[in-house]
């Protein structure tokens, strides 16, 4: 995903001279294509994320679309108030980019586990969360954000994620994107609804019973302002099972639950796959930690 991000950023920056990239002294062997192509629009702000974020807001207030880039919690929690006050409140076009969403850096310990970031970002009224499920969705998110500059959070996985789309899909905030159709057409199918890199997990679960006739949808763009769109999208389904590599508290499934809380018919269809807080005390590979955290098919 991070390579798709930088390729797309370089592609877009050739067309948009107001795109800038600030890194917090991270991105070795990732960000060089941008830095080499646009040295005047690339800044390494050093290990100083609060300044990086305030700086980005100041630049954005002068007409730039600024991407801040770092790992896991560094560009988010470390500078949460700069995101809240400087970016979100002033509605400035800064895209906070976090690489290593979820447990992608599982072996590096709790400091590098990004399992509360949705909770932070979805508490900001103007923030659009971009959590692509594969490299094609990364490109789709980037194109949307450049066309619609606003406070935004781009949550990337790491590297090596499989592609589920054959071309860059067209996406809209709050609208579910069909990724894998059910094998057999039935009147009220069930679906997984994923955000972020858990798209691959849901796709894998389709190989197992009782999910073999599920479809998979992805929701790569969402936020506080898209809640009212959710209930209607439950209608075609008998069950909607959300999947995320984030704690339930403040997460994607909780956001869906809040979105349909006054729509009992939709609410009763919702089941949530998310991470248990137990995972916060564990270190290991992303695959293993996701399983320990509860991202395994439930017995039906």
């Amino acid at each position: 995903m991070r390579n798709a991000f930088i390729e797309e950023l370089v592609y877009l920056a050739h067309q948009h001279p107001h795109i800038a990239l600030i890194v917090g002294d991270l991105g070795y062997s990732v960000v060089e294509p941008f830095a080499d192509s646009f040295p005047d629009r690339f800044i390494n702000a050093g290990v100083a994320e609060q300044n990086m974020t305030g700086l980005a807001a100041g630049m954005a207030s002068e007409g730039y679309h600024v991407f801040t880039y770092s790992i896991a919690n560094f560009p988010t929690f470390r500078c949460a108030e700069q995101i809240r006050n400087d970016i979100d409140y002033h509605q400035l076009p800064v895209t906070v980019v976090s690489v290593g969403g979820g447990l992608a850096y599982g072996a590096l310990g709790y400091s590098h586990h990004a399992v509360q970031d949705y909770a932070l970002m979805r508490s900001f009224p103007n923030m659009l969360i971009a959590a692509p499920g594969d490299p094609m969705e990364v490109r789709a998110c980037m194109r949307y954000l450049i066309q619609n500059p606003q406070p935004s959070y781009l949550r990337l996985g790491k590297a090596g994620e499989p592609c589920f789309h054959t071309q860059v899909p067209t996406i809209h905030p709050g609208r579910w994107l069909s990724v894998i159709q059910a094998k057999e057409a039935i009147e009220k199918p069930s679906t997984f609804l994923t955000t972020g890199a858990t798209l691959a997990i849901a796709a894998e679960w389709l190989k197992n019973t009782p999910y073999k006739n599920h479809s998979v949808h992805s929701l790569p763009l969402w936020g506080m302002s898209n809640k009212s769109m959710q209930a209607a999208q439950f209608h075609p389904f008998s069950a909607v099972e959300s999947v995320e590599d984030h704690l339930m508290d403040g997460g994607f499934g909780s956001w869906l639950m809040e979105s349909v809380v006054t729509h009992k018919e939709s609410l009763t269809k919702l089941d949530i796959y998310s991470l248990s807080a137990d995972v916060c005390n564990l270190v290991g590979s992303q695959t293993l930690l996701n399983q320990y955290g509860g991202l395994v098919p439930k017995k039906k």
Partner: protein
Amino acid sequence: MTDTIELARHIRIHALHMVHRAKASHIASALSISDIVAVLYGKVLHINPAEPNFIDRDRFILSKGHACVAVYAALAECGFLKTEDLLTYGQENSVLMNHISHKVPGVEFSTGSLGHGLPFGTGKALIAQRRRAPWRTFVLLSDGELAEGSNWEAMLFAAHHHLDNLVAIIDYNKLQSLTTVADTLGIEPLHDKLTAFGWSVREVDGHNHGALIDALNNTPWQKGKPSILIAHTTKGKGVSYMENKVEWHYRTPNIDQLAQALTELQ
């Protein structure tokens, strides 16, 4: 030519009325910067009330947003606001919030939480440098605010990138929320610290208009270095019973205290 001493007197009078009417805090912080703000708006900033966002304006950021009444008053005196708009300060749904708000014409940036103004202003200065734009960015900070680490991050950055179009002013009144700066988290030797961070440093009496005008109209003091002015001030300046009294960080003048303050400012 603007009489900045008279402008500062008007700023103080407006500030006292606003804080009294709204039963608000921070009057002493506003009085502390009234001369600095008067000099900025009267003699330094290249701004135009008829076109608050014109591209080549100087950018001014009040990082100590709690002292906003001084800036709102200056904006009214300069024509960005109507004087009667000041009456809405602190009222329900007013854009004139109790911490400075970008919803007010002429205000670049909302603050209130300390340590945000300098990084933001640094971003603006960086863009001006890269565009070779003629305008400067001014950021006014408090002394207690220097305990926020984000300021020092921004100082490192601005010096590293040679942002000599950036000017920071420290309102060094030596009092903060509960007691003195020295007894809270000492910042001395401040001049040496700032110099060591790569900034060009000057010190002035923050109530001496001539010294302020001279310093602020002649930046950069050293080519390739951002400028930082340590303005030695008195918290509550101009109202005898407020001067150097920590409680006036919070207290609101009652009607009798307001009258006394206004008499002293005649």
